[in-house]
């Protein structure tokens, strides 16, 4: 099928043969660089926090602990991941649909607003004017520029999503593809739809809060704020889930030649995400008094389990597609011969498969149990909750996105990685560290250790308080895991930056095989 590219603004990929819109390529590169900068800021904050929650080290003073925690949450949960996701949308909408990017002006607006908003938020937090944590629960009040910065990022991301929808519209109008869109594009569309819900809630909650911080609105009801804010805060992580699953399908194809087992089943699972995954925001309100048990149980159990079913479907179909591909290549010895023969030295594959295992077993199981009202009563605001979401967002999404970068840099930056042996080790180091850290968090939380707490020993308290040696052991595990995962993160950033700026050019030739 002919594309709708403008003359001189498309090239054929030297490795895959797919068309690459040069406008889209420019913005994918810009968003990838911006994402890695935010990842670096969030990563430095992460190791400072890990070394503070490790009681034997207890690095930061109290005020800096909460400041750095705010910085960490914003950069890791919002800025890094949303920035890369916009790049993924541009890639899916153009290369996979053989289309041009709908609007470079919108793409510039998206990049400018997200970059300016992210930078502004980081400055405001670092000068001590936004010590309200990522959730910024009212009546805690930050500087108005803090809220403005979040609004800028949200509006920028929404413009990027609109540009994606405009791109798939012109691709369909110009008939640049036949039949249904590829599965990866379908997953990206699901992520974009979830993003619309998320960003609309962001606008509904952040604009009045911004006006409140300016003194133009008298009061914000805390119950109302929490309800709407979590429509932004948790739903933004559901964009990650959808984008991550799309990346799993993409990396399964790139690394093993796998093809989706059943298009209808895989697409139905994405539709379950579209319809039901965002109501999982109710998990955060399971101990709130303002909403009824009926509302809580419907939104976190009955309807939500359809989204859980979707994750279980993807959790089986993705590895099954790899199994079929490996068996077709002749690796059919025994039950797991295909798995043993998988390309484990390819960091794109190892990152994707470890991401799948950590997300599915660690993040998925903890998420479903913690989302049950009875268990949540025990676990709410303990370290079990960060233990869960570090396995979904860090061990799952961030690790999958790292695996994607091992293909993004050679294919779209057209540069090869240095020190490929270290690149092969990096996903294992990061995955091992995150798993260790998250298990430390989860078990310490099971002993009752609270989250978002600077000193769980209550040093200097009149009455003896704190936790016993078992909890301290688990906080030590958390600290060791934080060090290991930070080393993995630093290695990833170092390798990626070195490749982008000094890597050998592969223009005119296929990328070097992993």
């Amino acid at each position: 099928m002919p594309g709708n590219h403008l003359p001189g603004l498309v090239r054929a990929c030297d490795t895959t043969g797919l068309p690459v819109c040069l406008d889209a390529q420019r913005f994918i590169r810009l968003h990838a660089v911006m994402a890695v900068v935010f990842l670096l800021i969030g990563g430095v904050a992460a190791i400072l926090l890990g070394l503070t929650r490790w009681p034997a080290v207890h690095l930061l003073p109290a005020d800096w602990y909460y400041r750095v925690l705010t910085l960490h949450g914003l950069n890791m949960l919002i800025f890094w991941i949303l920035s890369l996701e916009i790049g993924i949308l541009y890639f899916a909408g153009t290369t996979l649909l053989n289309s041009r990017l709908a609007s470079t002006k919108l793409a510039w607006a998206c990049f400018g607003l997200m970059g300016a908003g992210g930078a502004l938020a980081n400055v405001i937090v670092m000068i001590g004017k936004g010590d309200v944590l990522m959730t910024s629960y009212v009546p805690l009040m930050a500087h108005p520029l803090f809220y403005l910065a979040i609004i800028l990022v949200a509006v920028g991301a929404l413009i990027g999503v609109i540009n994606y929808f405009a791109t798939i519209y012109i691709a369909r109008r110009d008939q640049t593809y036949e039949g249904s869109v590829p599965l990866v594009v379908f997953g990206a569309t699901a992520a974009a739809i979830i993003a619309v819900f998320t960003l609309l809630h962001g606008a509904v909650v952040m604009v009045p809060t911004f006006l409140w911080s300016l003194g133009l609105v008298k009061t914000i009801d805390p119950g109302w704020y929490r309800l709407v804010w979590w429509g932004l805060g948790h739903a933004s992580q559901q964009i990650n889930v959808c984008a991550m699953v799309s990346v799993w399908y993409l990396l399964a194809t790139l690394t093993t030649g796998a093809k989706p087992l059943n298009q209808a089943v895989c697409r139905a699972a994405f539709v379950f995400y579209i319809l039901f995954i965002n109501i999982a925001s109710a998990h955060h309100l399971l101990v709130d008094p303002g909403v009824s048990a009926t509302w809580k149980i419907w939104n976190t159990s009955y309807a939500m389990y359809l989204a859980v079913l979707a994750s279980m479907i993807h959790g089986f179909t993705v590895p099954a597609s790899v199994e079929v591909a490996m068996r077709r290549k002749g690796h059919d010895k025994g039950l797991f011969g295909w798995l043993a023969a998988a390309p484990w030295k390819n960091p794109g594959f190892s990152a994707f498969f470890l991401s799948l295992v950590i997300f599915g077993f660690g993040g998925g199981i903890t998420g479903v149990t913690l989302g049950t009202q009875q268990i949540n009563i025990l676990a709410h605001n303990t370290l079990r909750i960060p233990g869960h979401f570090h396995m979904t967002v860090v061990g799952g999404t961030t690790l999958a996105f790292m695996g994607l970068c091992y293909y993004l840099v050679p294919l779209l930056f057209q540069r090869e990685f240095h020190l490929r042996g270290l690149a092969r080790v990096q996903p294992y180091l990061f995955a091992g560290g995150v798993t260790f850290m998250a298990m430390g968090m989860s078990f310490a939380g099971s002993y009752g250790v609270p989250r978002r707490h600077w000193d769980v020993d209550f040093t200097g308290a009149t009455f003896p308080a704190g936790f016993d040696a078992s909890a301290h052991l688990m906080l030590g595990v958390l600290g060791v895991g934080a060090v290991l995962s930070f080393l993995g993160l630093a290695l990833f950033i170092g390798l990626t930056v070195a490749a982008v700026f000094t890597g050998r050019s592969n223009r005119g030739a296929p990328m070097a095989a992993w």
Partner: protein, 49 residues
């Protein structure tokens, strides 16, 4: 000459990103946000002891 295959209604839904967009915003907004707002609005005011 064979007639072109008529897509199944679910396939037509899956191929319609605009309808999915509407459903993806409306369903969770009603189930989570609007229902939640109604419950908060109907909550009786607390009385001081």
């Amino acid at each position: 000459m064979t007639e072109p295959r008529k897509p199944h209604p679910i396939e037509r839904l899956f191929d319609n990103p605009w309808l999915l967009l509407v459903l993806g915003v409306v369903v969770p907004t009603l189930s989570y946000t609007v229902w939640g707002w109604i419950e908060l609005a109907l909550m009786p005011e607390a009385r001081l002891p």
